[in-house]
């Protein structure tokens, strides 16, 4: 089934440690996104990428970095985790043709707990 694969499904991470959340899509979508979901706040955009080789900052980028070496992969890295980064992280992708807006396809999420 075509879609987005996120790994790991869940993780407990010690504060100060680094971690990379993986995201792979097989739909050849140009645009990819990382969101965090927190109770009562909905989803907030961390970083995005319109196409391979380019990235941009979203609403809450501090403490996170991304790379987009190819179309399919969009890893999210926490360089030094803090407890406030405890959240559920969703990767998403969408078609992109010019400035047209499309709906997103989401992965199943990574539940991260920083202790």
């Amino acid at each position: 089934t075509a879609g987005i694969t996120q790994a790991p499904t869940s993780q407990i991470l010690a504060a100060g440690r680094s971690m990379t959340l993986r995201c792979t899509q097989d739909m050849r979508h140009n645009a990819m996104y990382w969101y965090r979901q927190d109770l009562g706040l909905g989803l907030r955009l961390i970083h995005y990428s319109n196409t391979a080789g380019t990235t941009g900052k979203g609403e809450v980028p501090d403490g996170y970095s991304v790379s987009r070496a190819n179309t399919d992969d969009f890893p999210l890295t926490l360089a030094s985790a803090v407890p406030s980064q405890t959240s559920v992280y969703f990767c998403a992708s969408s078609e992109r043709a010019g400035a047209r807006v499309y709906g997103y396809t989401f992965g199943s999420g990574t539940r991260l707990t920083v202790v």
């Binding site: 987005i4 009562g40 989803l43 907030r44 955009l45 319109n50 807006v101 989401f106 199943s108």
Partner: protein, 114 residues
């Protein structure tokens, strides 16, 4: 920047009853509007979207939504709810020119009573 408000945090309806979930947005122009559904432990799935044209849009799973410019609303409706509709529902808005700036509401959790 645009914003989305979902006034109801939690709604409970009986199976077979009708459903309306409210969504209000704040944006200077006509935005692109979306409804997503999230089942427990899953990612979000697109239910329907409004870009332009007919203000009543049909989606998957028997859902529909109506765009009302005068009220800045995009409410989601279903005539008869099924137990499998129990989930979290998110309204989202994006500027018509920027796919990267999609903003989500805080969500409405739907419980379906037998």
């Amino acid at each position: 920047a645009q914003s989305v408000t979902q006034p109801d945090i939690h709604i409970t309806v009986s199976e077979g009853a009708s459903l309306e979930l409210r969504c209000n947005y704040s944006y200077g122009a006509t935005p692109y509007l979306f409804w997503y559904v999230q089942s427990p432990g899953q990612g979000l799935q697109l239910l329907l979207k409004y870009f332009s044209g007919d203000t009543l849009v049909q989606g998957i799973k028997g859902f529909e939504a109506e765009f009302k410019r005068s009220q800045s609303s995009f409410n989601l409706r279903k005539p008869s709810v099924h137990w499998s509709d129990a989930a979290e529902y998110f309204c989202a808005v994006a500027p018509s020119y920027n796919n990267n700036d999609m903003r989500f509401g805080a969500g409405t959790r739907l419980t379906v009573k037998p």
